[in-house]
């Protein structure tokens, strides 16, 4: 495998009509990939993630999405996802179909997809109205105890997953620390995986700490080295969430017109991530750098 640039990876991995998972749970959201997808002009993507956030709001506003599979659609810690709401409530810029679960319901679907299971049982949904509005959520008899009913969900295998990690070797063996969310399940469930990392490191770095390797190279199709690729979300140990951007989005996304103007300036108005970062300015990025706080090294032993 060779490391490629974002434009090449997205163009090679993604086709209109695909179901697309853009990874992360507040942490490691691949915004750089999302912006490249908007620039490439897709208009029939089925978006998947437990927590569609700003990057999905941007894809929806740009007209890239026709369906969203999710479990919590909001601006984390801020409020509503306004473009998502406009699409669901008013069909702006066009209708999107929704396929809705709870967090455990959706992550269980990805986990079943990653393990190639026909369905998984879970102790949730009974007593809620979700089974009434989503035919994928079914209630079956426990085959071992006919007195018990249990909810089940089917596997979910996105056509394409774009996931971020702090580092990987050139083959795509990826290491993540901090919050993983459902990144690994999605990467293992998807047909095609684009891995974007803060830094590509030597294979010996990965091999020095094998317990931290959560995505193996044979699941990965494209590796992209994209520093600050998760901005305005964060990468643990590399940079913090740019909370001003999340607060600004709440304002910017107030109307569809303002949202399009923002996309013109920050997505279509730049060629790639490097130009985006130059436009943000070094001072803003430097302000996001955390203090150092190393984990104690472990001794794997020499044998």
């Amino acid at each position: 495998m060779t490391v490629v640039d974002m434009e090449t990876a997205i163009d090679g991995a993604l086709s209109d009509g695909d179901s697309l998972y853009l990874g992360g749970f507040t942490h490691l959201i691949p915004f750089a990939a999302g912006h490249e997808i908007i620039r490439q002009g897709y208009d029939d993507l089925h978006l998947v993630r437990a927590t569609p956030d700003l990057v999905y709001d941007q894809l929806i506003a740009a007209g890239c999405a026709t369906a969203v599979t999710f479990s919590w659609a909001g601006n984390p810690g801020v409020g509503s996802l306004r473009a998502f709401r406009r699409a669901v409530e008013d069909g702006v810029p066009h209708e999107v179909e929704i396929d809705e679960y709870s967090h455990f319901g959706l992550t269980s679907r990805l986990s079943a997809g990653a393990r190639d299971l026909p369905f998984v049982p879970l102790r949730t949904f009974l007593g809620s109205d979700y089974p009434e509005v989503n035919d994928n959520i079914r209630v079956v008899e426990n085959p071992y105890d006919p007195d018990e009913e249990v909810a089940v969900v089917p596997p979910l295998k996105p056509d394409v997953a774009v996931v971020s990690a702090q580092r990987a070797d050139e083959d795509g063996n990826a290491q993540i620390w901090g919050i993983q969310g459902e990144i690994v399940e999605a990467a293992m469930a998807a047909d095609t995986v684009v891995l974007t990392v803060e830094e590509v490191v030597d294979e010996s770095v990965v091999r020095s700490d094998p317990n931290r390797t959560v995505i193996p190279d044979d699941a990965v199709d494209f590796v992209v080295e994209e520093p600050f690729g998760a901005h305005p979300s964060y990468a643990q140990g590399f940079y913090d969430r740019d909370n001003d951007a999340y607060l600004e989005w709440d304002e910017v996304s107030g109307t569809h017109e303002d949202t399009l103007a923002w996309l013109d300036e920050w997505v279509h108005g730049v060629e790639n991530r490097r130009e985006y970062m130059e436009k943000l300015g070094a001072e803003r990025l430097l302000d996001l750098l955390p203090k150092r706080n190393y984990a104690t090294p472990v001794d794997m032993g020499g044998y």
Partner: protein, 255 residues
């Protein structure tokens, strides 16, 4: 009497519900401040778990969301979401869950999904997140919410998080663990009777029964002896204002 806001009173009252041995699944915002307040006052051993998979978090500053890096740094462990929900929540390792929502009804069922018809919504809300499984799998759930007739209908538009469904028996028949224990609003504290219906156990200072009835969408009943909710202590107010929410993100100006 100390000068306090409604939100500060709700936080201090909620913190009293948490014990030293409890493991709590924390929500961001007001519940997060209540849990951190409990940890610094009566329940230093309280274990805080977040939906994002951080276990026994010890945040050095107010997290901006449940996925904030301060919840991972210095946590006891960080697990994938499917493991957090599976090993910890579903397997019964969590005592308390905090829930919020746009509507809560007399049986403690909560709606955070949609106002109006699901397929043609008046207002599309964020949805369950982990709320449905928190409501189904913790030993007890606590709700903190402003009190208004709009938020307290007799029946919610959509059950995101089951409370006592149609009554305590209904919940048991479904095989759900626990159930809602207390609802803390800016007017009163409510608990649930043997039938699984909400009733008022304490009124906040200056709030009348009439105020609560006017802000509730059904004819709510009252305990035989209704208490007055204790106000936050000076130390609780100091902790909230100086350490837990110094910028007043969640508590500034009250409701």
């Amino acid at each position: 009497m100390a000068d306090y806001t409604d939100t500060e009173l709700m936080i201090a009252r909620a913190a009293q519900e948490l014990g030293d041995d409890d493991t709590v699944l924390v929500g961001v915002g007001v519940p997060n401040i209540a849990c951190n307040l409990a940890k610094r006052t009566g329940a230093p051993g309280l274990r805080m778990i977040y939906e994002s998979g951080t276990v026994d978090s010890d945040p050095s500053s107010l997290p901006l969301s449940i996925g904030d890096p301060v919840l991972a740094s210095n946590a006891r462990s960080v697990v994938p979401m499917v493991d957090g929900f599976g090993y910890y929540l579903q397997a019964g390792r969590i005592d308390v869950g905090f829930l919020g929502g746009a509507q809560i009804d007399k049986h403690g069922n909560i709606n955070s999904t949609v106002i109006g018809d699901y397929d043609d919504p008046d207002v599309r809300l964020p949805g369950s997140g982990g709320a449905c499984e928190i409501a189904s799998n913790t030993e007890r759930t606590l709700v903190i919410t402003p009190h208004s007739e709009r938020r307290f209908p007799e029946e919610v538009d959509f059950v995101t998080s089951p409370g006592y469904v149609g009554g305590r028996e209904g919940r048991e028949e479904l095989g759900l663990r626990g159930g809602p224990e207390a609802v803390i609003t800016d007017k009163a504290v409510m608990e649930f009777d043997d039938a699984g219906e909400m009733y008022v156990t304490s009124l906040h200072p200056g709030v009348s029964r009439e105020d609560v009835r006017d802000a509730t969408g059904w004819d709510i009943s009252f305990a035989d002896e209704v208490a007055e909710t204790p106000v936050p202590t000076d130390e609780e107010l100091r902790l909230i204002r100086e350490e837990l929410d110094p910028d007043g993100v969640y508590t500034g100006g009250g409701e």
